[in-house]
């Protein structure tokens, strides 16, 4: 039986990036499709952060191509990535602590009576849209008018992620979203990751924590020392295998193709 599978939202081919004497990325490939969670794992210095910065437009790759929904594209800066629909939820979150949830969700894209800087803000419609997006993601916060400073780490992650949903971004990159969180909050963030996927988005999860990765990822891409090791089906690969790929104890040859593509008649 043929399963109709949408093509990749975002695809990277042969990406290389060099910083002076350091070859940060060598011929790396990567792809994420709608409604899937791809985890990007690797030891320290594997090139995860560099790859994320290439995708979010902060660094330009020295060579290689980026395809957005099948079409080749060049990212000249973060604004280009945002315009395409790629949003990055940074480890340090990038929220304004002194502003409330609504203001942060709409930061830089406020709804106003006009386009000018002196346009009056339409707080009511912003608040309604905030409530609806947070409900859609089942985010639990006391009130959308709570200032960010009064929220927990998990709630802040949720607000930062909700921003990407609000702006209809197709690909959401989460950089170590659970790094600073406790057990309960980690659970909530992972739940949020699943909901982002169920909402049709392509989610890229960068994480050190293999437990989190196995909990939510559909596929796992492993990088080691700036090189692409392989992409594995999270249901079949074992933790031990993954660790050995990450550390280089075992060469990454056991690449598993996409299940749906495997089901396609050749």
């Amino acid at each position: 039986m043929t399963v109709e599978r949408p093509g990749p939202l975002l695809e990277l081919r042969g990406i290389s990036k060099r910083f002076g004497a350091v070859q940060a990325l060598t011929d790396v490939r990567f792809e994420v499709r709608p409604s899937e969670v791809v985890a990007l794992v690797g030891d320290n210095g594997a090139g995860k952060s560099t790859l994320i910065k290439v995708v979010s437009g902060i660094f330009a790759a020295d060579s290689g191509t980026i395809l957005w929904q099948g079409a080749e594209t060049v990212l000249h800066g973060p604004a280009d990535a945002v315009a395409l629909g790629i949003s990055t939820v940074y480890q340090d979150l990038a929220l304004a602590d002194n502003l409330d949830v609504v203001a942060n969700l709409f930061l830089g894209r406020e709804v106003g009576s006009g386009g000018g800087v002196l346009a009056t803000l339409d707080e009511i419609s912003m608040e309604q849209r905030s409530i609806s997006v947070l409900r859609r993601l089942s985010v639990k916060i006391p009130s959308v008018r709570t200032v960010i400073a009064a929220l927990s780490g998990g709630q802040r992650q949720a607000v930062a992620a909700a921003r990407s949903v609000l702006w209809e971004n197709k690909v959401v990159l989460l950089d170590e979203p659970t790094a600073a969180l406790g057990v309960g909050q980690t659970h909530e963030v992972l739940e949020l990751v699943r909901r982002l996927r169920d909402d049709g988005r392509g989610v890229v999860l960068i994480s050190h924590n293999l437990e989190d990765v196995f909990a939510v990822a559909d596929r796992i891409t492993v990088l080691r020392l700036g090189r692409y090791v392989g992409t594995y089906d999270a249901k079949t690969v074992t933790r031990e295998q993954l660790v050995s790929y990450m550390t280089g104890a075992m060469p990454g040859t056991a690449e598993v193709p996409l299940p749906a593509i495997a089901a396609q008649p050749t």
């Binding site: 973060p78 604004a79 945002v82 940074y90 340090d92 979150l93 990038a94 929220l95 304004a96 602590d97 002194n98 502003l99 203001a103 942060n104 930061l107 830089g108 894209r109 406020e110 106003g112 000018g116 800087v117 002196l118 346009a119 009056t120 803000l121 707080e123 009511i124 419609s125 608040e127 309604q128 409530i131 947070l134 409900r135 859609r136 089942s138 985010v139 639990k140 916060i141 006391p142 009130s143 959308v144 008018r145 200032v147 960010i148 400073a149 009064a150 929220l151 739940e191 909901r195 169920d198």
Partner: protein, 406 residues
């Protein structure tokens, strides 16, 4: 999926008086204390001076003086609030007020330009000075403290240069002197009061009814009514008292109008939101696509413009500009007013009303102590102590906020 169902926990504030109280309690608990301490402080100061002066403090004559004394520095403080919201400082607002007043005096008296033109030129010079300083701070990435410290010295020199050998220039131009010399009584004063209260109460009611229509939580009617009555009574009492003497000074009306306008800009416009975002987290603002440098330059320009206008009002009241215009305690009082009124020195928190409340506190102390014929040594020490208390309250609130946020 069933997890997409409505979550009752994502709601706006609970409705009704209990909801309002609960919201306020939680705000205090996390360090957002608002204007409450300064209002209490102001009440205490007024009662003390009322008792100590045997009632003279609240005499119509003295209230008009108080209003006149407030206008100039209060206007400067409005600009300072914006600079503090960014988490920056502008040490030049005092001297820029003096320099721009000097420019006005020279253009009007020495060069014979009409009053309105001279006033316009003074305000434009203020804007230009702010633009230069703001560009310097953002372009070369120098802390605003250092750039404006250099400005503080440099513009002092510019004032001496502009005034030349004359030293003091007396102002006789009817337009310029009318800025601080015009008073409203009777129907005009009443209309001003009604417009002011009507705007404040009207916008609150409008916001409330719109929120309710949209199905969002809103302030309870009782809270709103109580606040409206208190504001209306205070304004009506003030206007009646001022009317027993010369009336409501035009310069006070300017200040209040400026505060209302700038409060709108700060709270309800895209620009204001940008200022708060940059002051709260510059990096978050940058990543959200806010033009951080442009916002900072605009705020420094705004602060210097307010300073220039404050300088014009001060000169109009004193009927002269001399070499010490804008120096002395003008800068310190303007910054102190913004801080005492509840604007955080750490950026991102405060309101434009802080300028009005703060200057009311500072001028009340200064005026009250003058009535009691206290020495200026005592005046300075007490003003300093009040400022210290205000900053300490802010610091404690900030700590509470960090604890709550953890």
């Amino acid at each position: 999926m069933s997890t997409m169902a409505d979550d009752p926990r994502v709601l706006a504030d609970r409705p009704g008086l209990i909801g309002t109280l609960a919201t306020y309690r939680s705000r205090i608990a996390r360090g957002d204390i608002g204007q409450l301490p300064v209002l209490i402080g102001l009440l205490v100061i007024w009662l003390v001076f009322y008792a100590a002066s045997g009632g003279t403090f609240f005499s119509p004559f003295n209230l008009v003086n108080l209003a006149l004394q407030m206008a100039a520095v209060g206007t400067i403080a409005v600009g300072v609030v914006f600079v503090l919201l960014l988490g920056e400082i502008d040490l030049t607002v005092g001297i820029v007020s003096g320099l721009c007043a000097g420019v006005m005096a020279v253009l009007n008296v020495k060069m014979g330009l009409p009053g309105p033109v001279a006033v316009g030129a003074a305000v434009v010079s203020g804007t230009a000075i702010g633009l230069v300083q703001g560009l310097w701070i953002t372009r070369f990435r120098i802390p605003s403290f250092v750039v404006t410290l250099a400005g503080l010295i440099g513009w002092q020199g510019a004032l001496l240069y502009v005034l030349g050998s004359t030293g003091t220039i007396n102002l006789r131009d009817p337009f310029i002197t009318s800025l601080a010399g015009t008073f409203f009584t009777g129907w005009v004063a009443a209309a001003l009061g009604v417009a002011f209260v009507g705007y404040l109460v009207g916008t609150s009611y409008l916001v409330r009814s719109r929120r309710l229509t949209a199905g969002l939580g809103a302030e309870s009617m009782s809270t709103l009514a109580v606040r409206s009555v208190v504001i209306a009574a205070f304004v009506a009492g003030g206007i009646l008292a001022l009317g027993q003497d010369r009336g409501v000074p035009l310069s006070l009306a300017f200040l209040v109008g400026l505060v209302v306008l700038m409060d709108h800009v700060a709270k309800r416009t895209r620009f204001g939101r940008m200022v708060f975002a940059v002051g709260g987290s510059r990096e978050a603002a940058r990543r959200a696509g806010i033009p951080v440098s442009a916002v900072r330059v605009a705020v420094f320009a705004l602060a210097s413009t307010c300073a220039a206008w404050g300088g014009v009002l001060a000169a109009s009241r004193l009927l002269a500009v001399n070499q010490s215009a804008g120096s002395g305690d003008v800068l310190l009082n303007a910054i102190a007013a913004a801080v005492i009124g509840g604007t955080s020195l750490f950026g991102g928190r405060g309101t434009v009303w802080a300028a009005l409340l703060g200057i009311l506190v500072i001028q009340s102390i200064s005026n009250g102590m003058d009535l009691l014929s206290l020495d200026s040594s005592v005046k300075f020490m007490i003003t300093g102590a009040v400022l210290l208390v205000a900053v300490t309250i802010d610091a404690i609130a900030r700590r509470g906020r960090e604890v709550a946020g953890a």
